[in-house]
Amino acid sequence: MATIFQGLRGGAAAALTNSIDSKKLLSRSTRRSLSERKVSFPVVRSDGSVNLNPGGSNARARRVDQLITNAVATKADSSAASSTSKPGHELLLFEALREGLEEEMDRDPHVCVMGEDVGHYGGSYKVTRGLADKYGDLRVLDTPIAENSFTGMGIGAAMTGLRPIVEGMNMGFLLLAFNQISNNCGMLHYTSGGQFTIPVVIRGPGGVGRQLGAEHSQRLESYFQSIPGIQMVACSTPYNAKGLMKAAIRSENPVILFEHVLLYNLKERIPDEEYICNLEEAEMVRPGEHVTILTYSRMRYHVMQAAKTLVNKGYDPEVIDIRSLKPFDLHMIGNSVKKTHRVLIVEECMRTGGIGASLTAAITENFHDYLDAPIVCLSSQDVPTPYAGTLEEWTVVQPAQIVTAVEQLCQ
């Protein structure tokens, strides 16, 4: 299986474009597990078939292997090197987003992109690199700095036949576009009696990064989740990034696609054939029996990190990347709850009013009888994200907390 964390390990090939210390990210959390025994566990692919990791490779690569998502179409392979005989191609998450975007722009001439620095600059995270040269600077539009305006512009263009993708340079900036997103994007299909549709995609990087400061570390999914009329999805791997991007563009509803600043350099091998991911589905990352861990975006990797520890301690967690933040995939979540009877939610949102809070309410309402213990929700604290590295680290849920929570939950 291809290695996902090459970029995050600070490998030569995938140099980070922003100020993220990749080694610190992984090494801090894996230091504890270096001394522990290696245990292999089965990895389930998105189509339901199971691959067992063959034994024998070095500890570090295997640990990384075990942390990867299973949605890749290729079989599990102990060698970390990619070979030309394998199907599919390897790319980083931001490239996967671009690939999905480009395929849709090729397929449908109405698809266009607008945002700050998306044109010749290629986007602040290089998701739109090269597109302006290929499609022209009208179809990949550089806008002045007015989020409310270009979001409104995207809405107006969508109502008259285009399919714009609006990029917020950072999701936090879209707070300036809240009026347009809530009052117009979400509403106009309804209030016009179904006459006008708004097939717009609003996307951008969000979440807590590496010392980007409080204003650039917002979790907008908390604020937007209440708006009727929109759908929200969060991508976490190159595979689902491309799939969700394509699905979002093809959807007739306005979709907000949440990316994470720290996940852009994840590497994965994805299929050559065309595919899309279902916008309303969650993703089974690791099936298990003891506890259901629900997470999304970057926290998926912290959870998988903790899963490694938990497995060593004899637990069998089921990890689900909920992916669809609005609406929740209560079908998959419900089946999991009925199986394990214990739920742990791990999110990056703040305690109050986050996705976890809504998810807790939804599960309690629908599956209360199946729960053996109250739902535990691990979130960030209700504080603005501090700048200092140590403080910032403590504000985000760490694998150790996840392990402790599972242990307490399973007592």
Binding site: D133, G136, D137, N148, G156, A157
Partner: protein, 481 residues
């Protein structure tokens, strides 16, 4: 029927259009109305003196370097800096050459004279010398629609006062802006309204029954009972559904224009807003965007003097809205908003400029809001009654235009009374029918939130239906389920 002077202009445009293609046109400034370049400047020495006495008009503005950003929708090389000529009196700053001056001058915050207002019909409905003509058919339709709009407003307003509808908002005093601008557009021009422009819908064929249905939120309502009265919308007539938010439609209009530009259509976006709406951030952003993206959009400002109770003196300190156009690089004009013919010709010309030259145009129509802001407002509380009466009677745009068409022999008092009584009867019938028409069914509460009803909404609908079944006495009995 086309206008004489305009025809020659139009044929020039068509001829050039045919030669060069829609997007490749150069600016036809010779045939366009002259741009007002007056600027007052202050010299440092005279700062202490009274501002109004000291003025030196800057005749020639420095020429701004400008590239055409979108030659086509096909990719192209970005053009580099054109001139490297070193000139000691100019410097190449980012954005273009700027001349130097050793005299410290502050540009005044207000001009000595306000930008003049374009008008061709005087107060008595007489054509001013050099004005333009429209044909009988258009003129009579314009007048009839203005009179219909006025009657509709009166009757619906009364219906609200009688408790038959919950809310209404009149266009009294601004009928000319509504109808004349609508007449100057084609059905392909996409209208993005604020809320005081139902006349545009009326011109395009929205029936009185449709207006009534929306106000009564019944089953015949195009909005399916989901919006307040006067929030009309019609995809068929290219008129975007009214949203209550102020000025949020301005960026939408730029998006619509962007869409039209991408498709290379012979149409423009048209958006309306008031003097109050021009204070919103969306106004600034939309104008800026439209200029930068070279979008074919008409921004029509109904400067009616009042934003609910806020007079324009408390809304802004600039010379109205028209001067802001230049600040964003948008061509602009100030028009007498109660002069039907002036509006018609200004909008017609602006539309051609917008489409042929792919640029936004700002039109400030000066007028007065004769009615209250809405049925929730009593404007006599904050403005003198005689001021309202003056504008309602002596300065009524409909009366003024009526004098003109009567002087042409196209209208008479018989035609007038016939029109008024017909429309009145039609409206009263429409209201009666709309009032009795069934309300939208419960299922319409949950549809169109998304393209397909998702499971959570189906559940919520089911739950609601069950609740109604258990407690029927707590829900209106005449409500269709």
């Amino acid at each position: 029927m086309a206008v004489c002077v305009r025809q020659s202009r139009k044929s020039i445009i068509n001829h050039v259009k045919a030669k060069m293609g829609l997007l490749g046109l150069t600016c036809l400034s010779s045939s366009m109305p002259s741009l007002n370049n007056d600027h007052r400047t202050l010299s440092a020495a005279s700062l202490a003196k009274d501002l109004r006495n000291q003025n030196s008009v800057l005749e020639n503005k420095p020429i701004l370097y400008r590239t055409r950003r979108f030659d086509s929708t096909k990719p192209h090389q970005r053009s580099g800096v054109q001139s490297n000529v070193a000139n000691s009196q100019f410097l190449d700053f980012p954005g273009g050459k700027v001349a130097f001056t050793s005299e410290m001058r502050f540009i005044s915050e207000s001009p000595k004279e306000r930008i003049p207002c374009y008008r061709v019909l005087d107060d008595d409905g007489q054509l001013i010398e050099g004005g333009i003509n429209v044909g009988k058919e258009i003129a009579v339709k314009m007048y009839s629609d203005m009179a219909t709009l006025q009657t509709m407003d009166t009757i619906f307003y009364d219906a609200q006062r009688q408790g038959r509808i919950s809310f209404y908002l009149t266009t009294i005093g601004e009928e000319a802006i509504n109808i004349a601008s609508a007449a100057a557009l084609t059905i392909d021009d996409f209208v993005v309204p604020q809320y005081r422009e139902p006349g545009v819908l009326l011109w395009r064929g929205f029936t009185l029954e449709q207006f009534a249905n929306q106000c009564f939120s019944n089953r015949g309502d195009d909005c399916r009972g989901r919006q307040m009265p006067i929030h009309y919308g019609s995809k068929k007539l290219n008129y975007l559904t009214v949203a209550s938010t102020i000025a949020s439609q301005l960026p939408h209009a730029v998006g619509v224009a962007y869409s039209l530009k991408m498709d290379g259509k012979d149409a423009c976006a048209v958006t309306y807003f008031g003097d109050g709406g021009s204070s919103e951030g969306d106004f600034h952003a939309a104008l800026n965007f439209a200029a930068v993206t070279e979008a074919p959009v008409l921004f029509i400002c109904r400067n009616n003097g009042w934003a609910i109770s806020t007079p324009t003196s408390d809304q802004f300190r600039s010379d109205g809205i028209v001067v802001r156009g230049e600040a964003y690089g948008v061509r602009s004009i100030r028009v007498d908003g109660n002069d039907t013919l002036a509006l018609y010709s200004a909008v017609r010309t602006a539309r051609e400029m917008a489409i042929c030259e792919q640029r936004p145009i700002l039109i400030e129509a000066m007028t007065y809001r004769v009615g209250h802001h809405s049925t929730s407002d009593d404007s006599t509380k904050y403005r003198p009654v005689d001021e309202i009466e003056l504008w309602r009677s002596a300065r009524d745009p409909i009366t003024r235009f009526r004098k003109w068409i009567e002087s042409n022999g196209w209208w008479s008092s018989e035609a007038e009374s016939e029109l008024r009584s017909n429309v009145r009867k039609q409206l009263l019938d429409a209201i009666q029918v709309a009032e009795r028409t069934e309300k939208p069914p419960l299922v319409d509460m949950f549809t169109d939130v998304y393209d397909a009803v998702p499971s959570n909404l189906s559940e919520q609908e089911k739950w609601l239906r069950e609740t109604i079944k258990i407690h029927p006495q707590d829900y209106p009995s005449d409500f269709p389920l």
